[in-house]
C-alpha cells in the first residue's frame, strides 16, 4: 500500500521468494554444517594419520567453497533483493528494527568469507594447528550468522512481546528463537552429511569410499534425534491458535506437513542404506536422490514456517498485503484506493472499475495468489465462484478462513476486485440480473353469489414464501411440501365455522400433475428419509388430490407434493389448488382456488458456482450442489462429497436439526436456521434486503418475487421485520449459545449487531417459534407508528401469525389476510390477482376478507361491532 507493486502475475503468490529462498536456505545451512564437517574431517585425517582422508577433505573444501560462496552467498543477497521487491513494507520493518542484527550478521559473513578463503588456499601450507583454528573460526562465524538471522526469521512468525513493546530484544529473542536454533543447527549438520555423500560416493578407492560414506552417514543420523525433538519443541512453542491454524486448518499446509513427516524416516533409511557396503553405481545415484530429498525436506519446513504466518507477513503486525493490522479499520473505512499511495484510480467509476480492480488485486491478492501461476493460482481457486459470490466471499473470508486477511477496502472496492477476477481473469460474463417473467393466463375467479351461496370457503398456504431444494441426488434441505389450510363458513346473521358433516376436496392444477417427472426427490427419498415415498406423494402421504383433514376449526392438507415446474416445462412458483366443499351427500357447497407457493429460486449459485438448474432462473444444479458440499467438507472437515459420490445423498437435517422436531439432528451441531444464517452472515454483509434475497426467493428482479403482499407495496422489505442478516443470524445463534453450543459462540464472535449496540442486547429466538409479529408494529391493531420491528418475538408457536385466530377463536388471521409475505392485497408477479382469488371471489376487491366494510361476505346483517379484532370496521386504509 505504501509501495508500488511488481505485477508478477504467474510468478506472483510468493513464487519468486520461494524459489530463491529454499535454494539459498538449503545451501546456507550446508554452509554452517559443512563448516563443522570440514574441520572435523581434517581432525579425523590427522588423528588417523591418513593422507587420503586429508586429500578428500581438501577436495571437499573446494566443492564446499564453490557451492556456498558463490551460489549460497549470492542467493543470500538475492533473498534480500527479492523480499524488498515483493514486500518492501515488511522488509523495511525488519531492516529498521533489526538493522544492527543484520549488521552483526554482516560482520560474521565477512569473517566467514575471509576464513573460508584462507582455509582453502592455505590447505597444506599453513601449520595444522592454525589451519584447524581457521576452520573452527569459519564454523563459528557461520553458526553465528545462523544464530543472528534465526532471531529475525522467527520474529516474523512469533513476534512475541514485541507487538506491545517494540523492543529489539523482545522481538529478537522471541518465543520460537531457541527451538528454531536447535532445529536449524541439527538440520545444518544433516545437510552437511547429505552434501558429504555427494563427494564421498565419488571417491574411486573402494575402502576409502566406504569409510567416508559411513562417516558422512553419521552426520545424517546422529543429529536426527535432536532435529525431531527440537521440531516438537518448536511446535510446542507456537501460540495455541497458530498451532491450530498450521496443523489443523490451513489446507495447503497438509502437503508440507505430510512431506516433512514422511521424509524424516526416508532420510534416515537412506543414510543407513548408504552406510552399508554398496557399489558406487548404486551409492552415487542414491546420494543424488538423498540430496534432492533433503532439498524437499528443507522446502517442506520452510513452506510450513512461511505459510504459518498467514494472513500476516509479520504475524499480528502486518498483513501479507503490507497493510498494518492497526491500519485495517481505517482502510476499510476510507477505502484502499484512498489510502494506497501507488494507485492511479483514486475512485471507482464504470470506466475505471476494471483497472481499479486490477490495482487493488495487485496490492491485496498478488502477494499470495498468482495469476495462472503455480502458487495459489487465483483463477483456479475462484473459477467456481460467480462475481457476486466472490464479492461475498471476500467479505467474510477472514472469518471462515483464518489464514486469509480481512478485505481491506469498502464494499464498492470489494465489488471491483471481484469484477476484475471474475470478468477479466476468469472470463465470466455475468448474465443480466433481471429475470423476465412471462405472465400466466387470466385467473378464473370461482363464482360466488352473495344472495344465493350459503357457504364461504377460505383457503391459504401456511407459508406465503415457501422454498424447496431440488438437488436431491446431492443434498436435501427443504423437501417438497406445501401445507394448505381452509376454513368453511356457513353464512348467516351469526355465521358458523363448519368442520363436521362436510368434506373438503382438493385438486392440484392439472399442469402440476407429475412433479416426480420434474425433480429427483422420489428417486432419492429412501436414501434421504429412510423410507420409500410413493411417486407424486408428499412426505405425510398427501397426493395431488384428496380430502383435507378436519381440525377444530380448520381443514388442512399437509405437505402436498408440489414443485414449481409445470408439466409443460418452465418455472412457475405459484401452482394453484382448487378446493371444493361438499355436503354429506356429496353435493357441492362452495368452491375456491388458492395459490400454493413453492419456489426453487434458492440462490446458492450466486456464490457457489454453477448455473440455475431450470430455465436460467431456478433450481440448484448438480454443479452448485457439489460445490456446496465441497466447501462444507473443506471448512467443517466432513466427507459429504464422498458420501454423495458413493450414492448416498445428504439430508442437511441429519446433523442440523429442524425446528419441527421431525429431524432432531446432532445435538453438538447448530440447528439448521442458526447454522446456515450464522455462517453465511459472514459473507452476505450488506445491511439491506439484498443479503436475504441472495438466497431467498424475494429479489425484486428475481424469478419468484415471493414478497408480494401489501407490505411489499408499502416498500417494506425483509429487514423491516427480520432485521438485517447479521442481526437475524445473531438472534438464532444466541438461542443456540444459551443452550451451550460453543460453535454458536464462535460464529457470534465474528458478527457485529447493527440494530442494537451489543450482542448482549440481542434477544435470542428459536427458529419458527419466536418470530416477528404483525402486532409488534400494529399495536392494538392500530395504524403503526413505525415500520420496523426487530428484537421482539412471538412467545410460542401458537402466537405465530399463521396459527393465531381472531377474537372469536374460530377464524385464523391468515384466512382473511392470506399467508405471511403475501397478505392482501397482493400483487403477484405472474398475474396481479393470482393470490387475490378469494377476496375477489367473495367481495369483488382484493382487500382482506371482510375489510372495507365487507362484512356481508359472511354476515347477512349489518355489523357495527368489531367482533374479529379492533379497528376493523372502516374503509381499508391502503387502497
Amino acid at each position: 500500500m505504501n509501495y508500488p507493486v511488481w505485477q508478477l502475475d504467474a510468478f506472483g503468490g510468493g513464487l519468486m521468494i520461494a524459489m530463491i529462498a529454499v535454494f539459498h536456505v538449503y545451501i546456507s545451512h550446508f554452509a554452517v554444517g559443512g563448516g563443522l564437517f570440514l574441520v572435523l574431517t581434517e581432525h579425523k585425517a590427522y588423528r588417523e594419520k591418513d593422507p587420503s582422508i586429508l586429500d578428500y577433505a581438501r577436495k571437499h573444501t573446494r566443492f564446499f567453497l564453490l557451492i556456498t560462496m558463490v551460489a549460497g552467498g549470492i542467493t543470500g543477497v538475492g533473498i534480500w533483493f527479492t523480499i524488498a521487491l515483493l514486500n518492501p513494507g515488511a522488509t523495511s520493518v525488519l531492516i529498521h528494527n533489526f538493522v544492527f542484527a543484520w549488521a552483526i550478521e554482516w560482520v560474521f559473513f565477512t569473517i566467514e568469507i575471509i576464513a573460508l578463503l584462507i582455509y582453502y588456499y592455505t590447505y597444506g601450507r599453513m601449520d595444522r594447528r592454525n589451519h584447524l583454528i581457521i576452520g573452527w573460526i569459519y564454523f563459528g562465524a557461520a553458526w553465528m550468522s545462523l544464530f543472528i538471522i534465526n532471531g529475525i526469521i522467527d520474529f516474523m512468525l512469533t513476534p512475541g512481546d514485541w507487538i506491545q513493546t517494540h523492543n529489539f530484544w523482545d522481538g529478537y529473542f522471541n518465543p520460537t528463537f531457541w527451538p528454531a536454533l536447535f532445529f536449524r543447527t541439527a538440520l545444518c549438520i544433516i545437510i552437511a552429511g547429505l552434501f558429504g555423500f555427494m563427494t564421498s560416493t565419488w571417491i574411486k578407492q573402494a575402502s576409502l569410499r566406504k569409510k567416508l560414506v559411513r562417516y558422512c552417514a553419521l552426520y545424517l543420523l546422529i543429529p536426527f534425534a535432536v532435529l525431531l525433538a527440537s521440531a516438537w519443541w518448536y511446535k510446542a512453542a507456537l501460540p495455541a491458535e497458530l498451532q491450530t491454524l498450521i496443523f489443523e486448518i490451513m489446507p495447503e499446509m497438509k502437503l508440507f506437513i505430510t512431506g516433512f513427516i514422511y521424509l524424516s524416516p526416508i532420510l534416515i533409511l537412506g543414510g543407513l542404506l548408504l552406510a552399508i557396503r554398496l557399489p558406487s553405481i548404486v551409492t552415487r545415484p542414491v546420494a543424488v536422490v538423498m540430496l534432492l530429498l533433503g532439498f524437499a525436506y528443507m522446502g517442506c519446513f520452510e513452506f510450513i514456517r512461511e505459510g504459518g504466518r498467514r494472513p500476516y507477513i509479520l504475524r499480528d503486525y502486518m498483513y501479507s498485503s503490507s497493510i498494518l493490522k492497526e491500519d485495517m479499520a481505517k482502510v476499510q473505512q476510507n477505502g484502499l484506493l484512498k489510502e494506497a499511495k501507488w494507485v492511479r484510480n483514486k475512485n471507482i467509476t464504470v470506466a475505471s472499475e476494471l483497472d481499479a480492480g486490477r490495482e487493488m488485486y495487485n496490492i491485496l491478492c498478488l502477494p499470495c495468489h498468482s495469476i495462472n501461476g503455480p502458487l495459489n493460482d487465483i483463477t483456479k481457486l475462484s473459477s467456481i465462484f460467480s462475481e457476486r459470490g466472490l464479492k461475498n466471499l471476500m467479505a467474510g473470508m477472514d472469518k471462515t478462513h483464518p489464514y486469509m486477511p480481512p478485505f481491506a477496502g469498502t464494499a464498492e472496492e470489494r465489488k471491483a476486485v471481484a469484477h476484475y477476477i471474475s470478468y477479466h481473469l476468469n472470463g465470466q460474463r455475468q448474465s443480466s440480473e433481471e429475470v423476465e417473467i412471462s405472465p400466466v393466463a387470466a385467473v378464473d375467479i370461482p363464482a360466488f353469489n352473495d344472495k344465493q351461496n350459503e357457504y364461504v370457503l377460505l383457503a391459504w398456504s401456511d407459508m406465503g414464501m415457501r422454498s424447496m431444494t431440488d438437488s436431491s441426488n446431492s443434498w436435501m434441505m427443504l423437501p417438497p411440501g406445501v401445507t394448505l389450510n381452509a376454513t368453511l363458513i356457513l353464512r348467516g346473521e351469526t355465521p358458523e365455522v363448519i368442520t363436521e358433516g362436510v368434506s373438503l376436496e382438493y385438486q392440484v392444477a392439472a399442469d402440476f400433475s407429475d412433479p416426480a417427472a420434474q425433480v429427483d426427490f422420489w428417486q432419492n427419498s429412501a436414501s434421504l428419509f429412510n423410507k420409500e415415498i410413493l411417486r407424486n406423494t408428499g412426505l405425510s402421504g398427501s397426493g395431488l388430490n384428496g380430502i383435507m383433514k378436519a381440525g377444530e376449526s380448520t381443514f388442512s392438507a399437509e405437505l402436498l407434493p408440489l414443485v414449481p415446474y409445470p408439466n409443460k416445462g418452465g418455472y412457475l412458483p405459484y401452482p394453484t389448488v382448487s378446493i371444493t366443499a361438499k355436503g354429506s351427500e356429496g353435493n357441492t357447497l362452495v368452491t375456491t382456488t388458492v395459490v400454493a407457493p413453492v419456489a426453487t429460486e434458492m440462490g446458492c449459485r450466486n456464490c457457489h458456482a454453477g448455473p440455475w438448474r431450470v430455465g436460467n432462473r431456478a433450481g440448484v444444479s448438480r454443479q452448485t450442489a457439489e460445490n456446496v458440499l465441497a466447501v462444507h467438507d473443506r471448512l467443517s472437515g466432513t466427507s459429504l462429497s464422498a458420501q454423495v459420490a458413493a450414492g448416498k445423498p445428504v439430508l442437511c437435517q441429519q446433523c442440523h436439526s429442524d425446528s419441527n422436531g421431525r429431524h432432531p439432528g446432532n445435538e453438538q451441531q447448530l440447528n439448521m436456521s442458526a447454522a446456515i444464517h450464522g455462517f453465511h452472515a459472514n459473507f452476505l454483509t450488506s445491511q439491506d434486503a439484498s443479503a436475504c434475497t441472495s438466497c431467498h426467493p424475494a429479489a425484486e428482479d428475481g424469478s419468484t418475487r415471493a414478497f408480494r403482499g401489501m407490505h411489499h407495496s408499502l416498500e417494506l422489505d425483509c429487514t423491516s421485520c427480520h432485521g438485517n442478516l447479521s442481526d437475524h443470524a445473531l438472534t438464532l445463534l444466541k438461542w443456540e449459545q444459551e443452550k451451550g453450543n460453543n460453535r454458536a459462540s464462535v460464529l457470534i464472535s465474528r458478527l457485529q449487531p447493527s440494530a442494537v449496540d451489543t450482542v448482549a442486547d440481542i434477544n435470542p429466538r428459536k427458529p419458527w417459534v419466536n418470530e416477528p409479529d404483525c402486532l409488534h408494529c400494529h399495536l392494538e391493531f392500530q395504524v403503526p407508528e413505525d415500520d420496523i420491528t426487530f428484537n421482539q418475538w412471538t412467545e410460542s408457536e401458537e402466537e405465530l401469525f399463521r396459527n393465531r385466530t381472531d377474537e372469536s377463536g374460530q377464524l385464523r388471521c391468515a384466512g382473511c389476510h392470506n399467508s405471511a409475505h403475501a397478505v392482501y392485497p397482493t400483487v403477484n408477479p405472474y398475474n396481479e390477482n393470482l393470490d387475490n382469488i378469494q377476496p375477489l371471489q367473495y367481495q369483488g376487491e382484493p382487500f382482506p376478507i371482510g375489510s372495507n366494510r365487507n362484512c356481508a361476505v359472511c354476515h347477512t346483517m349489518t355489523m357495527d361491532e368489531e367482533m374479529h379484532h379492533p379497528n376493523m370496521l372502516r374503509e381499508f386504509r391502503n387502497q
Binding site: 505504501n2 509501495y3 508500488p4 507493486v5 511488481w6 505485477q7 519468486m16 530463491i20 564453490l66 560462496m69 558463490v70 552467498g73 549470492i74 542467493t75 543477497v77 538475492g78 534480500w80 533483493f81 527479492t82 524488498a84 521487491l85 518492501p88 513494507g89 522488509t91 523495511s92 531492516i95 529498521h96 528494527n97 533489526f98 538493522v99 544492527f100 542484527a101 543484520w102 549488521a103 552483526i104 554482516w106 560482520v107 560474521f108 559473513f109 565477512t110 569473517i111 568469507i113 575471509i114 576464513a115 578463503l117 584462507i118 592455505t122 601450507r125 599453513m126 601449520d127 592454525n130 581457521i134 573460526i137 517494540h166 523492543n167 529489539f168 530484544w169 499511495k341 501507488w342 492511479r344
Partner: protein, 359 residues
C-alpha cells in the same frame, strides 16, 4: 500526479541518522574500492587478451587468480552499505527498485554467472587459451550490466517526479534515460574502475618487485599507465557528468552546496595529482592520493543525493525510536571481528612469508 504522494512513509530508525550515514560512508568506501578492483582488473585482462590472444602473462594469470577474491570482497562489502542505505533511504530505493524490479533482480543471476565464470577462468586458465577472451569478455559484460543497473536504480531513486511512469510500464523494467546524468555517471564509475584496477595491478607488481621479481616492473608501469590515462579520461567524463546536473541543484552558498564544492575540488585535485604520480610510476603516492580522492568523491556523491532529495526529504525527517544497545553490541562485534580478521590475515601472511623463506 503529485510525486510527493507516491513517496512511501519511512519507518523509524533506532539511533541518530548520523550513525547510519557514517557507517554507510565507511562501508561504501570499502565496497567501491573492491568493486573498482574487480571490474577494472577484469576489463584490463579482457583488453590484454584481446590484444594478445595467445599470450600467457603474469598480469592475466594474477588477475585470474585474484578475481574470485575481489568478487567475494566486493559483494561482501556491498552488503553493508546496501543495508545502511535502506535504513536511511529505504522508502526511495525500494520504490525505484520495484520500478525496475525485473532488471534489479536479474542482478542475482547475472552475478552468479559472472562469479562461476570467474572460477572457470581461474581454474581453467592454462587450458583455455582461446577461451580466455570469451571468459573475460563475458565477465566484463556481466559486471558492466550489473553496474549499469545499479547506476539506473540509484539515480531513479532520486527522481520521484518520474515515478509516475510506473503506471504505464507494469513490466517493471523502467530505465532512467530521462535523466541526462545517468550515462556520464555510469561511465564515471566504469572509468574509475579502470583507473583503480590499473593501480591495483601496479600495487601488486610493485610488491612483487620489492620481493625481487625482475619482471614485475613492466607490469607496474602497465598498471600505472592504465591508472593515469583512465583517470584523465575520467576527468572529461566527470566534467560531462557535472554539466548534466540540473541547474540550481547545487547552491554553493548553502551548507550542502558548499561542502559539495569543497570536496569536489579536493577530489579532483587529489585525483589529478594521483594520475601524475601514476604516470611517473610512483605507485604509493598515487595510491594515497587516490584513496583520498575516492573518499572525497564519495562524500560528493552523498551531498549530491541530499541535494536531489531536498524537495522531498531530509534525513532529519526520520523519526527516532531510540534503541542504542543493539548499536553498542554491533560495534563490539565489529571491533572483535576486525581483530579476528587481522589475526587471520597475519598468520596467513606469516605462512606465505615462511614458505617464501623456506623456498
Amino acid at each position: 500526479m503529485d510525486p510527493a504522494a507516491l513517496i512511501p512513509t519511512p519507518d523509524a530508525i533506532p539511533v541518530h541518522w548520523g550513525w547510519f550515514q557514517l557507517l554507510l560512508l565507511l562501508t561504501f568506501y570499502l565496497h567501491i574500492l573492491f568493486m573498482n578492483v574487480m571490474l577494472g582488473t577484469i576489463i584490463i585482462a579482457f583488453v590484454r587478451h584481446f590484444q594478445r590472444p595467445a599470450e600467457t602473462c603474469p598480469l592475466t594469470q594474477e588477475i585470474s587468480n585474484k578475481l574470485p577474491f575481489s568478487i567475494a570482497l566486493a559483494v561482501n562489502f556491498g552488503v553493508a552499505p546496501l543495508l545502511f542505505v535502506q535504513v536511511l533511504y529505504g522508502h526511495f530505493i525500494y520504490a525505484s527498485s520495484i520500478l525496475m524490479a525485473a532488471l534489479w533482480l536479474s542482478i542475482v543471476g547475472i552475478l552468479i554467472a559472472a562469479y562461476y565464470t570467474a572460477y572457470i577462468y581461474r581454474y581453467q586458465y592454462e587450458k583455455m587459451v582461446d577461451g580466455r577472451i570469451v571468459a573475460t569478455g563475458l565477465i566484463s559484460c556481466l559486471l558492466l550490466i550489473i553496474g549499469f543497473f545499479f547506476s539506473n536504480n540509484f539515480t531513479l531513486m532520486l527522481h520521484p517526479e518520474t515515478w509516475h511512469s510506473y503506471f504505464d510500464h507494469p513490466a517493471a523494467m523502467l530505465l532512467n534515460f530521462s535523466d541526462p546524468t545517468l550515462i556520464p555517471r555510469y561511465l564515471h564509475f566504469v572509468f574509475a574502475s579502470l583507473a583503480v584496477g590499473g593501480l591495483a595491478i601496479a600495487l601488486f607488481f610493485n610488491h612483487r618487485q620489492k620481493k625481487g621479481d625482475p619482471k614485475a616492473g613492466e607490469w607496474v608501469r602497465y598498471g600505472c599507465n592504465w591508472f593515469g590515462y583512465a583517470t584523465f579520461a575520467n576527468f572529461a567524463i566527470g566534467f560531462w557528468f557535472f554539466g548534466t546536473l540540473p541547474k540550481g541543484l547545487i547552491n554553493p552558498s548553502s551548507l550542502v552546496g558548499g561542502l559539495f564544492s569543497i570536496f569536489l575540488i579536493i577530489g579532483v585535485i587529489s585525483a589529478l595529482l594521483a594520475a601524475i604520480y601514476g604516470l611517473r610510476y610512483r605507485v604509493m603516492p598515487a595510491l594515497y592520493l587516490l584513496l583520498g580522492s575516492i573518499f572525497s568523491m564519495i562524500l560528493v556523491r552523498e551531498f549530491l543525493r541530499v541535494a536531489y532529495l531536498k524537495p522531498w526529504f531530509s534525513l532529519a525527517d526520520l523519526k527516532l525510536a531510540t534503541a542504542y544497545s543493539p548499536l553498542i553490541l554491533f560495534l563490539l562485534f565489529f571491533a572483535c571481528g576486525l581483530v579476528l580478521i587481522g589475526w587471520m590475515l597475519k598468520i596467513t601472511y606469516q605462512t606465505y612469508r615462511n614458505r617464501e623463506v623456506q623456498s
